[in-house]
């Protein structure tokens, strides 16, 4: 029973003014171990809410999340999280940040050092070990965040727009790194993005969500992630199917956004 099951999740937020927001309605997904899934959708369609429920920060109003046969009842080290930015601990050095998970578990120093050194090598930050995180560029900070998450050896990695704040070039390099880490570690990954291109490149599976209420609109199985492992991602983008799928999804999202606009105008 390995894998992640998201079973008929619904989430309603009751606002202080008496109204309620249906952030998610009846969302079901099944992920096999080692699957890489990207989630796309207009903002406000419940992507973050979905991830927060899987991470255990929020309890759903209905439905449940099952990981390796066990129902999720709160946050846990087997579900690692990578945030957009600002979730590193700036009072710790790069090394201490990456070693945070092992430290909390009380792992012995030698073993921790081995893990931290290895991961800093993997993300290419060996020389920045003792630096303060605020001395690093945005891209380097996200590498630290990835390494910190991997240091705990989680079963599932949840990423909420991890590359959203990076410039285009850095972003492209980081996309390559994510694919490489996925292939090398074999982790199950859910990656939220609002870049259609990124979703196509980094998703074996791609889920497009629709808003109000947040729900799954369409699902794709894509070959590009597999193609892109350790390759030049620009070559992948030249694939004729890539452009075709991108156009299809873009117009789908355009339609959704337009519908939202129309609805708010009427309201």
């Amino acid at each position: 029973m390995t894998g992640l099951t998201i079973d008929h999740l619904s989430m309603r937020f009751d606002l202080p003014n008496g109204q309620a927001v249906q952030a998610l309605k009846d969302v079901s997904l099944d992920l096999k171990a080692g699957e890489l899934m990207s989630v796309l959708g207009p903002s406000g369609c419940g992507k973050t809410t979905l991830l927060n429920i899987v991470a255990g920060f929020l309890a759903p109003t209905d439905g449940k999340v099952i990981l390796n046969g066990k129902t999720v009842r709160g946050p846990g080290a087997e579900r690692g999280m990578v945030f957009q930015q600002g979730a590193l601990f700036e009072w710790m050095s790069v090394r201490e940040n990456v070693g945070f998970g092992p430290s909390m578990k009380g792992m012995n120093k030698a073993k921790k050092k081995e893990i931290v050194d290895h991961l800093l090598d993997v993300v290419g930050l060996r020389d920045f070990k003792e630096k303060a995180v605020y001395e690093l560029s945005g891209g380097m900070q996200q590498r630290v965040a990835l390494a910190r998450c991997l240091a705990n050896d989680p079963d599932v990695i949840l990423m909420d727009e991890p590359l959203g704040a990076l410039d285009a070039l850095t972003r492209e390099k980081m996309q390559g790194l994510v694919l490489k880490l996925w292939k090398e570690t074999g982790k199950t990954i859910i990656l939220i993005t609002h870049s259609v291109e990124e979703a196509l490149l980094l998703g074996e599976r791609l889920v497009v969500m629709a808003p109000r209420p947040g729900r799954i609109h369409r699902e794709y199985n894509l070959p590009f992630a597999e193609m892109g492992v350790n390759k030049d991602l620009r070559e992948v983008k030249k694939h004729p199917d890539f452009a075709k799928t991108r156009e299809e999804i873009l117009s789908m999202i355009w339609d959704m956004e337009e519908e939202i606009m129309g609805r708010t105008e009427k309201a």
């Binding site: 991470a55 846990g76 945030f83 600002g86 979730a87 601990f89 945070f100 303060a132 910190r148």
Partner: protein, 444 residues
Amino acid sequence: MDLLGKLGGELVGVLGTLWTIFPFLVGYVLVILGTLAIWRGVRRFLRPKHDFGSLKTVTFGDESSVTSNTAASVISIALIFLAWGAFTGSRLLPGFLHVPGPFVGQTEFTYAIKTPDGTTADATVTVLVYPAGAPADDPAVEAGTGIARNDSVAIQEYRSSLLRAQDNDQVTKDDGAEIVGVDGKAIAPGDSVRLGWGRVALTPKGTLNIEPSKGWQMEPIWLPAPEAVWARFIEISKEGYRNSTLAEHLGYSLFRVIVGFVLGAIIGIPLGYAMGLSDWFRGWFDPIVEFMRPVPPLALIPLVIIWAGIGETGKIILLFLAALWIMAIGARSGVSGVRISKVHAAYSLGASKWQIMRHVIIPNSLPEIFTAARVAMGVCWGTVVAAELVAAEKGAGMMIMVASKFQSTDIVLMGIILIGLIGFGIDLLMRWAERVLVPWKGKG
């Protein structure tokens, strides 16, 4: 309505006073702009390169785009000392930089009387103006032989003197003679005559009021010269003041501040944490903190004196209260200001609640706590001086209060400068500690 009328009157008075200062303000601004123009000129002359920095537009709210010009700071401070020296006739400055001082020395003028039968006669008045530290007797003069007889008077600088010049004349006021001229100019009762060294007025009663010129310099009792203040500093640091050494006075003030602040922090920080972490504590203390915060600590002085007397306990309670709310509010906002994604990250890295407290919440709140500590130290230092002004046996504030009662303006100035320097030193120290202990401040 009555109150409004009164306040309106006060406002008019205040604005009137400010209006007299206005030309000086304008002058000061002109000096600033003038030095700027000179500075620019000199720089262009020395380094005639195009300065790209001058093309940079000032972005409002972006402090980094304007840095402090050191040259301006140096000139500004130098100018303050220069003005201080010039207006006090400081011996540290060459004489030509002094503004005109009071008239000192011997001079004379004549007065003319007219008797009832129409005769007129002259006599000379010799005036000796002596410096404040060297009293002198009226200079000896020959009385002369005419109807009017010569007089003399000694006057201290910055003072004036009434002289009944007619008393020794042959035909006096009682005989119907009256003064009709001073130094060749006609004068009537109530008039005055301006002379090179001052002013002579004739009172309605026929007495001469002799006012030697005061010049532009300040009397030492208003503003002593820099060297006088320095000399006082040396004297007091050697001999002490009011049965205590200078170190004791300052040490007591610092002691009160540090003990009060530390106690305030010891209670205030945990209180702030409790308020940031528990809604019950927050609800319990919010009304108290929000009410006590706007009460200036100075307003508590009378109550604290009533309850705890003027001893150390009272002062330390006062400073404790001054620091307490500031520290509590700093710690509270430090805790509640933690980015939720940091807490979430820690949770999903397997940290327990207690570990999150220890490794995330506390370090994350330190910058805010340091900011609060800096503010609290500043407030405590101001409060201790004020409390000592009201009642104390030792302390920087007590020193200047007592000195002001004896009109020892030099000690008052010395005290104010020391208080300022210590306050500045405390702030520098806090900033240094902040840099060393929470280098990540503002880098989140």
